[in-house]
Symmetry: D2
Subunit: 405 residues, 4 copies
C-alpha cells in the first residue's frame, strides 16, 4: 500500500487500544523476536529434476553471510545464520566468525551432513555397518567442535536414514544403533550446547524413515538427556496432521527445541513460510506466544527453505515478514477473553476471538517495529530499491556458485 | 472491535483508493453477491458416534425457513434456501413457498435423498437391481416436479453410490447404469432447470465412490447435456488437491455449476467455511471473481455444513461473513499488475500482489456493504443481542426436532 | 478351491520343508494365536448418513455372545469377546459371564463409552467443566469394577475428546485434565489389570483430537505407569504413515498394549481387516512374530470393525482368517537369511525374502491348523452350510436390534 | 523355493482346473503380455539430496539397450525400450535401432525432455513467454521425427509445468497455451502415432501442476483428437485415490493410453512396482484383464522407476515378475461367478472371489510361461548366476555413467 504506514499505524493503534490490547508489550515482544536464516538458503537449490542457477548467487560461506546481512539489515530480527558442514567448511572458522561479526551477525546452529557421501547410501547412524556409523559419529563430533569454535550453542541434526523396501533392514536394530551413536555425540557436547533432533515423514527414504515423526524423535531425546530436544520442520508431516497441537505438546513436555520454518502443499516442498497455509502459521504462533519459555535455552526459530525459482534474498525477506506478522497477530489474541470463552464452552465465541486477531491487518504494526529496530518499513522494496543485487551479479560472475551439493 | 466501523472504513477507503482500487465496482459486486443456505443446516446433525440435540432447533421446514430468514436479515445476501426431499417434504408446496416469500426468501436448489432408504444400501442409480434404479429415477423425477412447483431452477444431486469392498460390483457397469438413469431425469427437466452433479472422494462408500472426483462428474455431465454441471463441495477432495485449480478448469470449460461451501481439515468434516483454510477460500474466490459468468445461469453459491457442536444460526452467519470477506479480498486483487507480473515471470511480485489483497482487513468494507443492504454491520452480535434464540427455545419446546434422518 | 485341502497342504509342506521352515513351530504358534472379537461387531452399524438393519441381528449382549461363539466354533482362535458399556450393560454380570462360559467363551476387554451422552459434547476427561470430568471418571471406575467382576484384565480406552474449531479450547489444559483424570482411574485398577490407551487422528473431532497419534498416547501412558499401554487401531493414522514402524517402536519400548484390527482406504473406514491393504497387515505381523512378548501380559489382538453392508458373522470369520493367514506368512519369513541380507546391505535380497513368504499360499496351512483345533477347514462355507443364520432370523424377529447407539 | 517348479506347477494346475479355470487361455494371455522398460531405468538416479553411482552402469544409449536385453532374455516379455531425448540422443538413430534389433529389441515410446533446460524454469508449453513455448514445440516435433525414424508409434509426454506460488501465473491462460502448443504437435504426428499425455499431482511444481490429475489430462486429449490418450503413472495421485477406478473409467472412455508402472508409499517415490501395494496392482490388472482392447492400438505397459539404492537390472527383473504375477492372478478371477455375485448383491461373495485369485501362489505358473517363451524360470537368480554384472563392471569402468541429467 502506498499510503503512509504512519497514519495506518495510528488507526490500528486506536482500534487495538479500544479493544484493550497492551500495545507496549506487544511491540516489545515483537522487537525481541529473532529468526535465524540458513546459509544454504542463499545458494542454488532445486528438485531431483533440475537445479536452475541464478546470477549473483554466493560462491562461498563468506558471501552467504553477506547476503544474510542484507536480510538482517532490512528486517532487524535476523542476527544469526545457520551453517551446514561441509557445505560451509572453511579452513579457518575464526575468520568466518570474524566476518560474521563484522557484518553484525553471529553463527547459529551447526548442521552436519550425513546424506551425501556414498557411504551413507543405506544410512548413517543407523547403518548396518559399524564402520559407517563410526564415520558418522566422527563427523558429528567434528561438528560439535566447530560449534565450540564459533560459539554456537546448537547442534541441529537431521537424518536421511531410512529404508526403501520392506525387509531391507530391521526397524528395531536401526533404532538401537541410532541411540547408541547419538549418546556418544551427546556426551561430547559442552554443557551449553543443545542437540536438536529433527523428524521427517519421508524423503529421501521411501519405505520408512528412522525418525519419522515427533514421537520417535522425542523418545530418542528422552534417552539422551534434557539437552536433547525436538526440532519441528513444518513440511515434515503427513497430510492433515495438526502441527500446532504437536507444538503445544512439545512445549508442555519442555522438549520443543526449535523450528525449521517453510511451507508445503504436498510433500516437503520447502516453499516460503506462510505462502500456502498462513492460518496454520498463525495458530502455531498462538501456541508459541503463550508457551515459549524465557531464559537462555529458548526455542530456536530457524528458516529452512529451497528457493528454486524465485530470487533468494527477497524470498528470505518475505519469509521473515510472514513470521513477524504471524507472531504479531498471535500477540493480539485476547487471552483473558479466550480463556473465559473456553472454560464456559462457548465454541464459536472462543473461535471468533482467534479470528479477530487473525483478520487484523498487522502490517503497519510490523513496519513500525522494524523501523524502531533501525530496519526497513518495507524490507523487500527497500532491498530492491538498493543496488545490492546488481553489485553481486557483477562481482560474483566467476567461479562455482554455492548449491546443496 | 469496538471502534466504530465508520472511521475504520474511511481509513480503509483512503488506503485502497491510494492503491487505485475502484471501490465503487467492488462494493457493487459485493452487494450483488448471494449465498444460499441449506434447510438442513438449521436442524440437528452429528457424526456416526452421536448427534447432540440443541434447544430451539426447528421441527419442520417452515421453522427452518424462519431461521434462514434471520440469516438473510442480518447479512442481506442470503435470499434463498436449499431444500432436501424428503426431509423437507410437505403436503402443500405452495404453502411452503408462500411462507418463504412472506419471510423475504425463496426456495433454492432441490436436493433429492438417495441414501437413507434401506433399498439404497448398495447404491441408487448405480444399483445392480433395476427395481432400485427405477425407484431412484422416480424420486429424482418427483424432485424435478417439486422444483417446478417452487420455481426452483436447480436440481442438486449427490450420490452415496459406491462400494466397500474390491470386487463388490463392476465400476464400468455402475457407470453405465448411472448415465442411463440420469439421462431419463435430465430429459424430464424443464429448459430453465439445471442439474448440478456433485462428486466426493469417499464416505459413505469406503472402497470406491461412483463419482469420486470432478473428472468422473464432468464426464457424466458431458453425456447428459449442457445444462448438467459440476458441483464442487470443498470437503470432497483428497488431501493436497488444489481446489482453486479445479474451479478454474471447470469455469474455463463452462461446467462449473455451483458450490457446497464448508471446510475440512481431515475428511468431509463439514465445518464452518473459512475456519480451517481461509487462504484457500480466498484463492477460490480469486478464480471466481475473474471467471464467473454473468446472466441467468450463474453459479450457485451454497453452504453445506454440519453444525454438530456450535449454535446453528450463529454458525451460518459466521460462514456467510467469511464468504463475503473472501470475495471482498479477491475483488481487491490488482488484476492489471498481477497480469503484468505473471507475463514477465516475476514470481514473487505476482505472489505478493495476491498477498497484498489477502492481508487487507476487509471487515469494515463488508460491514459497510451489509449496512447498505439494510442488514447488520456485525451480524452475529446483532443476532445475539436480539431475542430470537430465546423465543424459539421457548416456542419449539415440544415435538421432534429436525435432523438429518 | 474345491480340491481337498489335504493334498494342497502336503505339497505346501514339502515345499516349505525343502526351504528349511520349521513347520512344527509355525503350526504351534498358529494354534496359540488368539483374536478377540467385539460384541458391537455383531450389531447394526452405519455411517452418519444411514444405518441399515439386517435380519437376525442380536438384540442383547447374550445374543451377541451367541454369535461370537459361532466365530470361535469355526475358527478355533476367538475365545474372548470385548464388551462395551453401556451397550452391553446388564443387571447381572455373573449371568453374562456364565453365559459366555457356557458357550466356551470368556469376556475380554471392557470398553467404556465417553462419547454419546450429551454431557460429553465438548469432551469427557478433557472437558473444561470439572463436573463432566467427574462423571467421566466415575464411569471409567465403574468399568474397572465391571472388569473385576467378569475377570477381565483389560480396560480399553478410546476418547472422542477433541475440538472442532481453532481456539475452542486449550490443548495444554485439556492434556493436563486428561492426565489427572486417568491417574485416578489407573489407581483404581487391580494390579492384574492393564489400561489400553487408543489414539486416533480425527473423527468425531475435526480440528484436533486430544490423543491424535501414538506419541501423545504414549506420553500419557508414561505418566500413568507401566500397566498403561498404547492400543493401535489400523484405521487411525494419517495417510502414508508406516504403521509397522510404529508397532516395532512400541514393541521395543515395551508399550504395545494391543490392536484394533480393521482396514481403511480413506478415513477410519472400519472395513474387514486385510481387505484393502493385505501387505501392510503382513508387515505388521512380521514385526509381531519377531517381537511379541511371551508371558501373561501379552498383546491384546482385537478386531474393531463396522459391518455396514455385509453379513456380520461372515465378515468376522473372514477377518479372523485374514489375521491367521497374515500371521502364518509372517512366521514363514526366513529370519536368519533376512538378518544376513540386512547386515550385508543386500537391499533386494532382504526384500525378496519377505516377498517369498508373502507370496506363499498359506490357506492349506491355516485350514490344517483350524482342523487341528477342532474348528472348520473353511469357516465361512461351514457357517453358511449350517442353519444358524436361518435360526436367528427366525428367533430374533421381534424387539429392538443392537446397534451402536 | 528350492523345490522343482515343475511339481508345484502341476499341483497348481490340478487345483485351478478343479475350479474351472481355462488354463490354456490364461497361459496364452500371459505369453502375449509385454512390458516396456525405460532406458533411464538402467542409469543412475537419485533424490534431490544425492545420487549414488553404481559400478557397471551404462555410459550411453547403446549400453542401456544391452542391459535391457538382459531383462528381455530372462523374462521373455520385454522386447521394447523407451527412450528419452536428449538423454538418449545419438547422431545416428538408424544405428541405435540396428543395435536394438541385433539384441532382439525394438525402440518403444519416445520421451521428450521439457524440464531441464533453464529456459523451462517457469514451464514449457505453458510458459508465459512465447519464445519458450516455441522452443518446446520444436523439441516435441523433433521427437516426433525421431519416433518416425525408429519406427516408434508412441510420443509419451510428461510436463513439469506448474507454479510454486499462488498468483505466480494464470491457471486458465496456461491451460490455453498448452492446448494450442500440443495441437501443433498433434498435427505433426503420423497417423500411426499416438500421443500419451501423463498427469501428476505435484513435483517439481509445488503449488499447482498444469496437468494435475487424469481429468485435466483427458480434457486436453479431447481437444486434440482420438489419438491423444491418457498415461497413468501409479505414483502420481493424491493419497487415497482409487487408481483402479480411474483405469476402468479411462478404459470405458477409450482413452487409456498406457502406464508408467512403479510404486509409492508417500509422494512419487518411483519404487519397484508391487513392492508397496501389491494388492492395488492386482486390482488394476483385474480391470485391464477385462477391459483391455485388442488390435493395434493397444495399451502401452511401461515401467518408470528410479532405482536409487538397489541394483538396476535386478530391480527391473523383479518389477517385470511382479507385473506378470499380478496379471496372472487377475486372469484367474472367476468372471462368471463374480458377475453373478455382483448382480445378486452378494457383497462378501463377490469380494471373496477376488481374494481367491489374489491368494493363489502363481509363481509356478509364471515360471512355466517364461520357460515356454525361452526365458528363465527364476529370472533374478539366473541373471545373478551369470557373469553379466561382472563383465560390465569391468568393461564400463571409464567414462561418465548415464544419469537423469
Amino acid at each position: 500500500m502506498q499510503e503512509t504506514g504512519g497514519s495506518r499505524y495510528e488507526t490500528l493503534v486506536r482500534s487495538l487500544s479500544a479493544n484493550g490490547v497492551d500495545l507496549e508489550t506487544v511491540e516489545a515482544r515483537l522487537r525481541a523476536q529473532t529468526v535465524e536464516t540458513p546459509s544454504w538458503g542463499y545458494g542454488n537449490s532445486g528438485t531431483r529434476f533440475a537445479t536452475f542457477p541464478r546470477p549473483g548467487v554466493p560462491r562461498n560461506p563468506f558471501e552467504k553471510l553477506e547476503d544474510a546481512a542484507q536480510v538482517h539489515k532490512h528486517t532487524g530480527i535476523c542476527p544469526s545464520v545457520a551453517i551446514h558442514i561441509p557445505w560451509d567448511e572453511v579452513g579457518d572458522y575464526d575468520k568466518l566468525q570474524e566476518h560474521a561479526h563484522s557484518l553484525g551477525l553471529r553463527i547459529g546452529a551447526v548442521n552436519p551432513n550425513l546424506f551425501q557421501d556414498p557411504d551413507y547410501k543405506l544410512g548413517s547412524v543407523c547403518h548396518p555397518d559399524p564402520r559407517v556409523r563410526r564415520k558418522a559419529i566422527d563427523h558429528l563430533v567434528e561438528c560439535v567442535g566447530i560449534g565450540r569454535r564459533v560459539d554456537s550453542s546448537l547442534l541441529s541434526l537431521w537424518f536421511a536414514d531410512g529404508t526403501n523396501y520392506a525387509g531391507q533392514d530391521s526397524f528395531v536394530q536401526r533404532r538401537q544403533r541410532m541411540i547408541e551413536c547419538l549418546s556418544e555425540v551427546y556426551e561430547s557436547m559442552p554443557r551449553t550446547m543443545e542437540m536438536l533432533v529433527e523428524y521427517k515423514l519421508y524423503e529421501p527414504a521411501f519405505y520408512h524413515t528412522d525418525l519419522a515423526d515427533w514421537g520417535t524423535a522425542l523418545l530418542v531425546c528422552q534417552r539422551l538427556g534434557h539437552r536433547a530436544k525436538v526440532l519441528v520442520d513444518l513440511g515434515h508431516h503427513a497430510q492433515g496432521v495438526n502441527v500446532e497441537h504437536i507444538v503445544a505438546t512439545l512445549l508442555d513436555e519442555g522438549r520443543l527445541g526449535g523450528f525449521h520454518f517453510n511451507n508445503r502443499k504436498y510433500g516437503d516442498d520447502d516453499l516460503i513460510v506462510g505462502s500456502i497455509e498462513p492460518f496454520e502459521l498463525f495458530l502455531i504462533y498462538v501456541q508459541l506466544a503463550e508457551g515459549e519459555p524465557g531464559g537462555e535455552h529458548s526455542i530456536a526459530y530457524m528458516i529452512d527453505q529451497s528457493h528454486n525459482i524465485e530470487p533468494k534474498i527477497e524470498a528470505m525477506l518475505l519469509s521473515v515478514c510472514n513470521l513477524q506478522e504471524s507472531y504479531a497477530k498471535a500477540l493480539l489474541v485476547n487471552r483473558e477473553a479466550l480463556q473465559a470463552a473456553q472454560l464456559s464452552g462457548d465454541v464459536l465465541g472462543a473461535h471468533r476471538i482467534m479470528m479477530e486477531a487473525y483478520s487484523t491487518d498487522v502490517r503497519p504494526l510490523c513496519a513500525k517495529v522494524r523501523e524502531d529496530l533501525g530496519a526497513s518499513a518495507d524490507p523487500i522494496s527497500a532491498f530492491c530499491d538498493g543496488d545490492y543485487s546488481k553489485q553481486v551479479m557483477e562481482a560474483r560472475r566467476d567461479g562455482a556458485q554455492a548449491a546443496w551439493q
